[in-house]
Chain length 218, copies 8
Amino acid sequence: DFAKIDNHRALRRGIPEVIYCQGKTTSQVVEIARHMAKNGSNVIGTRADLKTFHDVQMIAPDAKYYEDARIFAIIREKVPQNTGTIAVVTAGTSDIPVAEEAAVTAELFGNPVERLYDVGVAGIHRLLMNVNALQSATVIVVVAGMEGALASVVGGLVDKPVVAVPTSVGYGANFGGLSALLAMLNSCAGGISVVNIDNGFGAAYVAHQINRLANKEE
Amino acid sequence: DFAKIDNHRALRRGIPEVIYCQGKTTSQVVEIARHMAKNGSNVIGTRADLKTFHDVQMIAPDAKYYEDARIFAIIREKVPQNTGTIAVVTAGTSDIPVAEEAAVTAELFGNPVERLYDVGVAGIHRLLMNVNALQSATVIVVVAGMEGALASVVGGLVDKPVVAVPTSVGYGANFGGLSALLAMLNSCAGGISVVNIDNGFGAAYVAHQINRLANKEE
Amino acid sequence: DFAKIDNHRALRRGIPEVIYCQGKTTSQVVEIARHMAKNGSNVIGTRADLKTFHDVQMIAPDAKYYEDARIFAIIREKVPQNTGTIAVVTAGTSDIPVAEEAAVTAELFGNPVERLYDVGVAGIHRLLMNVNALQSATVIVVVAGMEGALASVVGGLVDKPVVAVPTSVGYGANFGGLSALLAMLNSCAGGISVVNIDNGFGAAYVAHQINRLANKEE
Amino acid sequence: DFAKIDNHRALRRGIPEVIYCQGKTTSQVVEIARHMAKNGSNVIGTRADLKTFHDVQMIAPDAKYYEDARIFAIIREKVPQNTGTIAVVTAGTSDIPVAEEAAVTAELFGNPVERLYDVGVAGIHRLLMNVNALQSATVIVVVAGMEGALASVVGGLVDKPVVAVPTSVGYGANFGGLSALLAMLNSCAGGISVVNIDNGFGAAYVAHQINRLANKEE
Amino acid sequence: DFAKIDNHRALRRGIPEVIYCQGKTTSQVVEIARHMAKNGSNVIGTRADLKTFHDVQMIAPDAKYYEDARIFAIIREKVPQNTGTIAVVTAGTSDIPVAEEAAVTAELFGNPVERLYDVGVAGIHRLLMNVNALQSATVIVVVAGMEGALASVVGGLVDKPVVAVPTSVGYGANFGGLSALLAMLNSCAGGISVVNIDNGFGAAYVAHQINRLANKEE
Amino acid sequence: DFAKIDNHRALRRGIPEVIYCQGKTTSQVVEIARHMAKNGSNVIGTRADLKTFHDVQMIAPDAKYYEDARIFAIIREKVPQNTGTIAVVTAGTSDIPVAEEAAVTAELFGNPVERLYDVGVAGIHRLLMNVNALQSATVIVVVAGMEGALASVVGGLVDKPVVAVPTSVGYGANFGGLSALLAMLNSCAGGISVVNIDNGFGAAYVAHQINRLANKEE
Amino acid sequence: DFAKIDNHRALRRGIPEVIYCQGKTTSQVVEIARHMAKNGSNVIGTRADLKTFHDVQMIAPDAKYYEDARIFAIIREKVPQNTGTIAVVTAGTSDIPVAEEAAVTAELFGNPVERLYDVGVAGIHRLLMNVNALQSATVIVVVAGMEGALASVVGGLVDKPVVAVPTSVGYGANFGGLSALLAMLNSCAGGISVVNIDNGFGAAYVAHQINRLANKEE
Amino acid sequence: DFAKIDNHRALRRGIPEVIYCQGKTTSQVVEIARHMAKNGSNVIGTRADLKTFHDVQMIAPDAKYYEDARIFAIIREKVPQNTGTIAVVTAGTSDIPVAEEAAVTAELFGNPVERLYDVGVAGIHRLLMNVNALQSATVIVVVAGMEGALASVVGGLVDKPVVAVPTSVGYGANFGGLSALLAMLNSCAGGISVVNIDNGFGAAYVAHQINRLANKEE
Ligand SMILES: Nc1ncnc2c1ncn2[C@@H]1O[C@H](COP(=O)(O)O)[C@@H](O)[C@H]1O
Ligand SMILES: Nc1ncnc2c1ncn2[C@@H]1O[C@H](COP(=O)(O)O)[C@@H](O)[C@H]1O
Ligand SMILES: Nc1ncnc2c1ncn2[C@@H]1O[C@H](COP(=O)(O)O)[C@@H](O)[C@H]1O
Ligand SMILES: Nc1ncnc2c1ncn2[C@@H]1O[C@H](COP(=O)(O)O)[C@@H](O)[C@H]1O
Ligand SMILES: [Mg+2]
Ligand SMILES: [Mg+2]
Ligand SMILES: [Mg+2]
Ligand SMILES: [Mg+2]
Ligand SMILES: [Mg+2]
Ligand SMILES: [Mg+2]
Ligand SMILES: [Mg+2]
Ligand SMILES: [Mg+2]
């Protein structure tokens, strides 16, 4: 009983239970997953390596693994689907793992996802070519490391909520993601809020909660 | 022509034009306000001191001043109203100026606002007594300085988006709001995103955009 | 003679001698342990890996190892027992190793310990269900990473001293435990004092000294 | 109703209600004090300047002001007295205001206080001459800025809990108290826990809670 | 003789002598200016307030003052003119003082200057409307506070050297200009180098040296 | 299509396409390189380890590897040559890998390069002996870790633009290159601008853009 | 008795007693000075403003004030004189107040002082012209803000101990003296040790202790 | 010729040439050592691992290795001996490697060394028992991590120069040695100067230069 599992949360929230695997032993993860699944919850695990997935498969052969996102999922009950789209946008190629954590989480929580990768501001035409896709989304998740400027530019092009995810991509004076974090917190564009460095999951969670509000009939 | 004013923004966004007064001279503020109002926009000024308001009144005698919030407003056109409520919650009494910046902005942008002040976690019963008010809001803005713990507790009590505003309230190892900022970014509760330290305006902006999505008929 | 061992300390303090194993070679640890034990002291080693324990067993076959806590102990003399209880509380599952360092140390120093794990503030009901256990302790050790909010909430629920241990659990803007450390130092609840990041041992030491004072007949 | 006042706190805790005056307007402080006193609570205000005190005197002519400590007090009910002594120790002369905040708070909460000022480690004989006073206290509050070394030395001389208060005294690389804060958190002596920079009040609160536990008949 | 003045510098560099007035007494500034002017140098003073200018006028009635830039100038010899243009671009209105320090310095050093103010990335069309002006400059100085994103976007639109000046404009997590500084250092666009926070003078100096190299006949 | 490749950039800029290999999988790098080369671009990869080079050789047997610089290059089209020289200067031997990243990039972009290594300020005669080489360059790239003083001294000896590259060489209070970075940003010598810690590539890019401007007939 | 004065210190150390006036009330300073002087000690006060000096003059009409250094001195007994010279060197004009604190302290402690001001590395010839003066000193105190490079260059030119004093001179990314502090701590030149930012007094104290050791007959 | 070796330095300074091995390849170290030794210099290498030593032995079979200190030495010429003693003092056992770097360097530079290890302030009697040894040294090198308090206490007990070496020993809020560094820079005891974190070599260098000055006949 090293983890107190709250089975009402799934009802209360309408989303799968989530296990944050980093910092837990594999057997702790398996144990929590077994317990949750036994109670009928859908279960996903984030920051899960391949070995954890394989051990989870032992107790749940129908589990799936999303390698880029480092997520495993045991989905047995239908997840209610939202109508609006969540756009997930990255500045560069190296931001993709964090973006996939966001995109896969959003999908598993019942949201249509539109991916727009490698459209960073150093070549602004790449972003401008995709303005329509951005503007037709309900929420936009912007994933960027280094100077994190993409969030501000996107924020100026849409009038929908933007959830910004700074990444630790970069080196030197990026100080592990601090540069992008500070840039996003100080954005001169309105409508931007920020989650932790590399926290794709958290951004998807926020985006899902917003997207659910936007359902026209619920 | 020290400021390029974009009159399409009001249409695109459906909200008043906003002047951030800090770092501008009073005559710059008045000049920008005059220009915007002449083009028919509603105008609000944040971080405006009394002197700035008085000078604005010269050119707009119908301007109003919200002292706690440090906001002036010239509202001449009806602002479209959202149906859901934005709750603005503070941990302590000293966080109220930032909360008022958020609450007044949200109201001027067309949102019903529910204020819940001084319900910090050191006396958790104060928060628990108000769970209903929290849960019936569409979006919750949590304003807290010092350890910023209120955001996490609120995040665990509701299944709506929480926009967290760290404040610079405190001293010593609060390092100008860093303690609350880091706490909120690292919240173990889902559904929380964060804006800049003391940025009540930014939180209201995000909350407004979310609340607008939640309108059942638009 | 790389370490000056003070055998009067055990008398002066009434607790086992402690070796902090990190940053010492295994043979230094064994040498110090041998010397202390020869003089009749109880000896414990913190931050000890399995290999160190095995080498200590060579010279003290009765040594015990507490794996989660990473502590070994050579207890040959009865340790005086305190009457009050020390509660050790964690926010999450990942904080358990630090909590165990605290709990095992407290037990080895002669204190009854009550463990309450994974009761973080994101699900406040988990904590509220355990208020009685908290309130019947003499001292409470709160172990939490990420936003460290648990210390403030616990501090508001009890009128006993709370010793807060920030952990390095988390990632990104937790900056190795800084987020929880700052949060705990800035707690708006009274009665909270703080030890170093991940310093379960130090918290137990403080809690033991307080608990000893609370003995009604000494 | 900008502040939710909890009248049960006095009962639950057995100490006066406390108003933290910094960041509140004088009229907010007077209002809160009036309300608390009306309900029969003893009231103290910390970080109160002379002007605030004079305004409080208007509604409570029996209020007292402790200038060095910057505390006002309205004491109408007898405060229960603890038997043990709290020693308050400073490294230098400049640390005295913080020490007085601690000492006066401790006295108003019902504790005998022993003051030992200007006994910093650069002249260790000053401290050694006072070892008896230190060792006969139940709790020791150590107040030091700059390198904060006093906490460690005191911690090694006593076997009672030491509550360390880093101060912002110093300049340059003291970074507003960071040097003393980090030093105290990293103390190699056991039994030391730390409160916020310049937080004399918080240290007294912790020390009072410990000292109350030490009462032989309660 | 509190300042060793190097009269060969003007020859070696072909630019006026510069006095950095901050941190010097007014009479030190006047004394240095008098000495330099006597030797036939053109002299400018940066970070000079109005009072300093008035005192300088006493000894040099032909001195001029550039109020926004906080620069005074005593120009008696013709400064050689460069052929290319230096563009000075700002994100917002509050960045103008720093930009004027850059623009006026650049002009006094013999460079044609093109000012483009308030074209920040939150309204990207403002920048795109001015691409021609950017692309026809030889060097571009980008002045931006807050998230400093403008440097990256400009860097992607031109193939000329961009000198980025972070400003301290903003509040909270801008940490006195750190956010813009880190963003600019981590820019994903090539061709950007950075000077100190608010250092308009330094940027102009670099830009001038580059522009001088670009003179087709020298 | 994880990376949007912009083939117009080569035309627009006149330099090879560059792949930043760190944080990309080897197969991503190979894929991007293949695509770029197929379109006729010259291609270079920075931060490329030997394994990446070998995989690139599979699809481009004429690829070359510069071991010290950690750069691979596929050069099939003649790169236009600039007339001026870029000097690359290091303070110590340990800064050479960063310097080589700069020097090799500069050469591959068409610039004559003069290397001056290990001429740090602790033995100022080493630098003074090379003043001629410094002064005959068009741009100087200064690469230094630890205290980064070399940039200031070089800046005082030349009247050409200096691009400073702080390195992470050092330990302890160099904080991963922060010491050199801050030193260079605060240089009292004019004409110095700074790129990210260890960013030899970025410095070469800036230097190349400047050097291109200096071509007398283009 | 707010300050414990140690009259043996003068004997033990052979130097005047020192009062650090900042953070003390004027009457505390006067009281301590009176007490020290009454016991026959020479007394100096650092960080003393004019008002403090005037109040000290009331009780010691022979007191002297060194305005640039912000030091007052009551010297009644002959101070033993050292034979070697202490050189005090500054990078710029703005560093002079800190340098004077060092120089005046050194003189009052009995050392011949050679001042070399405004010889910063941006014009290295200024330093090279003074190598003889540097090399004939016994100890060199180097005072520099901004990038602090002067310490390294001086360290390479002499084979005597160099005491480096970083100053808070500068702005932006000097972060209150951090840039010079880190540069000096990371100096690649041997023989350099560092005192606190702006601590001219501390540097003089160290230099005096070294210079005393160098006396050939003592 | 990746390293410019200055053979006059040995003459000028009277000490062996030193190679800082970290960040250099083994073959670079061997090459430099060979070159120096060929010119008749004594040579030492710091931060040298066993493999580097073995490769150096190939070209200098008489080389010696000091394992704790991680130093190799090729000594062929007699080093001039100083008369005074350098005391090297550590707070704990884990600081010994840094202390040995200092002690061995000092010995190889010709100084008698007195080692006093594990005399940290938590057990102040250990230090007080050794006051004579401290007071009879000419210079004291204090090596301490964590809170670094030892430097201040030693500084108060002696009237000789103290060179303080902060170490990275500790964890959590020691931030890689920052806690000890700041403590030592802010010491309230006079006569203390500081070198970089873990820089035993640098401390020995400074101590040697001071000790050489103290030679009564040179
Ligand atoms: N990748 C992630 N980053 C941050 N938080 C996460 C992540 N994955 C899950 N979480 C949060 O962690 C909680 C589970 O934590 P635990 O009880 O330790 O398994 C979930 O409810 C989520 O709010
Ligand atoms: N000087 C002080 N420093 C830190 N906390 C304080 C201080 N004085 C009072 N407090 C705390 O502030 C609380 C009152 O806060 P408030 O409701 O804002 O008046 C008290 O219950 C104390 O825990
Ligand atoms: N606003 C400024 N910011 C930074 N550096 C400046 C500024 N103005 C002048 N300087 C530099 O300061 C030097 C003059 O410094 P000083 O000798 O102290 O007057 C000039 O050569 C410039 O390089
Ligand atoms: N300007 C200064 N900066 C740092 N320390 C100083 C300064 N002036 C004096 N001190 C130190 O402060 C001690 C006196 O402190 P106090 O007892 O507070 O007067 C002296 O013994 C000096 O070591
Ligand atoms: Mg890309
Ligand atoms: Mg309150
Ligand atoms: Mg959990
Ligand atoms: Mg004192
Ligand atoms: Mg604008
Ligand atoms: Mg070298
Ligand atoms: Mg100067
Ligand atoms: Mg020890």
